[in-house]
Point group: C2
């Protein structure tokens, strides 16, 4: 029987997670220090460790919370509905995620690029199952001649790649474009790409 969290617990846990997201997404797991996170959360380091047992626990909590929302855009893709529009909408939702949650995107990118040591199970479990399920739907659309004959898995990968790139490689894009907002022009371009690819 676990006790309900007090006001202070709620506030401080939230502050720590926000601070952790800030720091971990910028420097990766090993590149981040408890002192940095504590400072960002406005707490002392021992106080931090009063709420979370370890650095790893903060990181893991963040990843778990992230994975929930991370798969939502794909989950919303429905078999009943206009195929092209469904895929276009998925790509749009995914791009919006990159735009609205770039820190989450980079946290995820850091984790994956470094070999996904904390979430390997999830990738070959939950994620794989979801992707396989949706890929089957796309395949049916293909076979029914409703969209072009494309590999469903690679189609999904291409949406991940195209959308996450704008959040993860943010610095590079801004440097090349010379703009402050890396997303300018991205939405119509990706829309055009997906439309072209799906055209039967």
């Amino acid at each position: 029987m676990t006790k309900p969290p007090t006001r202070i617990q709620k506030r401080n846990r939230a502050a720590i997670l926000t601070a952790g997201l800030d720091v971990f997404s910028k420097f990766g797991f090993r590149g981040s220090t408890l002192d940095q996170i504590a400072a960002a959360a406005g707490l002392s380091k021992p106080n931090l460790l009063y709420y979370f047992p370890s650095k790893d626990a903060i990181y893991t909590a963040l990843l778990e919370r992230l994975l929930e929302t991370w798969l939502a855009p794909l989950q919303q893709m429905r078999q009943d509905g206009d195929p092209v529009q469904e895929i276009l909408d998925y790509a749009r939702r995914k791009l919006e995620m990159s735009r609205d949650y770039p820190r989450e995107s980079r946290l995820f990118a850091n984790e994956i690029v470094q070999g996904a040591p904390h979430i390997a199970d999830n990738l070959s479990g939950e994620l794989r199952a979801l992707v396989d399920e949706k890929a089957a739907i796309v395949r049916e659309w293909s076979e029914a001649g409703l969209i072009a004959d494309v590999d469903p898995h690679h189609l999904i990968f291409s949406i991940w790649a195209l959308t996450q790139h704008y959040a993860d490689f943010d610095v590079q894009i801004r440097a090349v474009l010379g703009t402050d907002d890396p997303f300018v022009g991205a939405a119509p371009f990706i829309d055009h790409v997906m439309r072209s690819v799906l055209r039967a």
Copy 2:
């Protein structure tokens, strides 16, 4: 007047750079330790520091060497030549880079995702100039009606995203596909994407 490197110097410097590439690409700059690199190179830590003055120097040397080869695929794109084929070939070369040099790709990805602290100058300098130059060529092709009317910068970004994704998110792709080789099927898919997008 700098002396020419001895045999031993050549061998050890090369071993250190290889080891550094292995380690840095896996764990990022801060996540890697001199002990790891020394062990991977088969040297003691002080011996490592006999050849390179600091951890930073190894990392910087790697990045510099990398940037040279990293831009080559884009540099090879020529204005005289079939537009669609030139862009297709660029995408193909870029994908081959990801397949043949995944460690380099991840080293680069780690650096960029974490804000490119070591190569920010390069991005807004050399890289931007090259991209702008090639984007101008693509724009001319568009305006001449030789390819579809697409934003040249985003076209280049999409090639980066689509190709690098297979090296950088390697673990995720392998987990979802259940294969050992993340690149299976990637080449024809990307080819199809680019052809569709460029079709006028």
